[in-house]
Symmetry: C2
Subunit: 432 residues, 2 copies
């Protein structure tokens, strides 16, 4: 039986979840893994007013990180603070002290991965982060230890529970974005400042990690195109439904060839037959395509105290069983792997959903179709609806065949210049 002493930094939802799982399943872990994992110290900001302080013996807690760094018995530090400051500094100091770090912190990892990995390599400490993407879903380990024989060409993920909850509610109940967001905030499913979720930042951090591992190339957050869900309207969702599609905030990474990647986060229309389209509410899922395994999907709870702790503790177990110096690292600083450029938005190819208000007159469709033809955009399907007799307008909905984004953007400019086109109401990418 190997004994491993652990420190937890931060005792909010994730930190207290890790403590709970380690307590609750300690006998099972001892028996099956031959590991005795014990939490020696927990770092908190305030010894008097912290949440969850009743969970652990009082002497476990400290407000001084030096207590943990100086403790030679502690070999694994579990960082559950979140955000960049002070988490980055704490992680670096633990690694420099030769302690292995397990973290669920997607922001610090996506922004400072090379620094953290360098520090880990210097002392032979481990750096583990299964919980940083997809909560309890074992996507990092699946990519590293099970998909290694594959050249992965595509990753698509629903990796933010808050936005998926909002879009699912909007879809099921036909309600407007603002209204559902307010309700989600009242219920605690969305933050008071929801920007990190609804504007897609959380997805960008996670996609940076996911795409870097899937494509074995460092994908910086600056290279990821980002569009949030705030512009998704009840009308878009209703039109999608009618056409047999569901709107999801997807994080997408595609490899066009060994040197050409496109990485993007935006609302996306998926046909209802796609396995991702039925991933609803707080669930997350990651859909991968590899040249041997073909399509594969991992589905589970993307957040929450215990699911996240499940992933953190699995890292702790792997780390505890791995000898110092034998921890795995990524090898990003490698010429072979560096994509020469990340594909520019203009060069993406996709199918597009276009909704527009036009004059309800004979000949309008022919003019619009003429513009599409001029820019080489072929129309896959067309639906006319919401004829408005009062103002003489109608709504047209197009789904295009696969086209270059630049061609579609140019066609939209030309359409806006047509007198018969009153407004381009929405433009959304479609994945098949």
């Amino acid at each position: 039986m190997k004994t491993t002493k652990i420190a937890i930094l931060g005792f909010g939802t994730v930190g207290s979840g890790v403590y709970t799982v380690l307590q609750q399943n300690s006998e099972l872990i001892r028996h099956r893994q031959l590991l005795d994992l014990s939490v020696k110290r927990v770092l908190v900001r305030d010894l008097l007013h912290g949440r969850n302080l009743a969970l652990a013996p009082m002497e476990t807690f400290t407000t001084d990180y030096a207590d943990i760094l100086a403790d030679g018995e502690i070999s694994i530090v579990v960082e559950c603070i979140g955000g960049v400051n002070p988490a980055k500094d704490y992680i670096l100091r633990a690694l420099q002290a030769g302690k292995t770090v397990v973290t669920a912190n997607k922001e610090v990892l996506s922004k400072h991965w090379p620094d953290l990995e360098r520090a880990a390599k210097e002392t032979g400490a481990g750096l583990y982060f299964e919980a940083s993407v997809g909560g309890g879903i074992p996507i990092i380990r699946a990519l590293n230890d099970s998909m290694q024989a594959n050249n992965i060409s595509r990753v698509m993920g629903i990796i933010n529970g808050t936005t998926n909850y909002i879009l699912t509610k909007m879809t099921n109940e036909g309600r407007a974005y603002e209204e559902v967001l307010k309700e989600a905030q009242a219920l605690g499913y969305a933050e008071a400042d929801p920007s990190a979720d609804v504007d897609g930042w959380d997805c960008v951090y996670k996609l940076s990690i996911l795409a870097s591992i899937a494509f074995h190339a460092r994908v910086n957050i600056e290279n990821i195109y980002r569009e949030g869900i705030s512009k998704v309207s009840a009308e878009d969702i209703a039109a999608a439904k009618e056409l047999g599609y569901t709107i999801k905030l997807l994080a997408i990474g595609k490899k066009q060839d060994e040197k050409l990647l496109e990485v993007r986060v935006h609302p996306t229309m998926l046909p209802n037959s796609h396995p991702l389209s039925s991933v609803s509410g707080p669930f997350n899922a990651i859909f991968l395509t590899g040249n041997a395994v073909d399509d594969i999907m991992l589905y589970g709870r993307g957040a929450g105290m215990l699911p996240t702790a499940s992933a953190v503790v699995s890292d702790v177990i792997v780390a505890a069983k791995t000898a110092k110096g034998a921890h795995p690292y990524m090898t990003f600083n490698n010429e072979f792997d560096a994509p020469q450029w990340l594909k520019n938005q203009k060069d993406w190819t996709s199918s597009y959903f276009l909704r527009m208000e036009v004059d309800d007159e004979l000949g309008v469709l022919s003019k619009i179709a003429g513009v599409f033809a001029e820019y080489g955009v072929s129309v896959h399907s067309l639906m006319q609806k919401n004829e408005n007799k009062a103002n003489g307008s109608a709504e047209l909905i197009f789904i295009t065949d696969t086209a270059r984004e630049l061609s579609v953007q140019n066609a939209l400019c030309a359409l806006r210049a047509l007198p018969c086109v009153r407004e381009i109401k929405s433009v959304m990418r479609v994945e098949e």
Copy 2:
């Protein structure tokens, strides 16, 4: 760069797939894993008439297993023959020679696991079998390396592609079992003798492996209840559809408490909202519930040359990176883990779907409801259909609340004795 020499036993679909993936992705594996994996020998039965012989240089092939056993350079033997004989003997001899074995063979593993594991332990060789369940889906490694912090209470899987293909066709096209089976045989999706698939044997082998790992207790195939799909009728599927359910052949393992397991393979009705219900055609999926991670599902191709090879080669990579003596083993021979008994079918609790032909007369429903009440079976929903004026009969469909199987069986006996009940047409378990 570490060089590892491999032998492949059998060069049918799986064996040639493994060879293909090792060739096709060799550069990627060399670069990312720092491993040079090369296939030195391939064992075939016939050097003249074998399939796929053009794939590899002629000197690679041998018909004499002794050539491989005696070759000290070969450290990993990939068994792709299938079935028990001669695969079991070949695996044992490789392990006894200290060679690590990677296999996709669910039958030999489920029937002879303790013998194989004992032989592996004696020489410190590895025994890997990711491809034995779920084809390309990394379920074995997910359970062993990612779900270790969980006490798993339930496993449910669609783990046979042939039966899922047949049931999906029956569901989508309203056709009868015999007709769809014949078509599947003509297309090569089902064997000439389809018993291993349609009678549930393949699922039993896989569930034995899956449940043993999930519950960390040796589940023998003799302890698994088995019912195939041949009795599923187009009428059952139509009724399920009308009620919002889908019929799937599920492999189910449930832990009632630490000493009480139930393990069963049978056609099952799932509500359409369940993620498993939309797993269609040749796809497989495994749905797990753990006390930390909650619900999680892994989805992908359950068979096929390259998806299976993806799993086999991932094992080869892990095995090649693991030092002799450091390979992981299961610990089944452990008192703590041995379930005292596997729950008897009579003690199962489930919801049930019952379809029966009755006299179309006043008072019949009341008599039937009286029998259910007598045996403590509560009715969740009822549907009457197919009134047949000519013979004075009607069809009744019940879905019960959760009840003991024994109570339901007793109630069915009593119902059969009622003169107004002409025939019990089907009894199917329902999972929520």
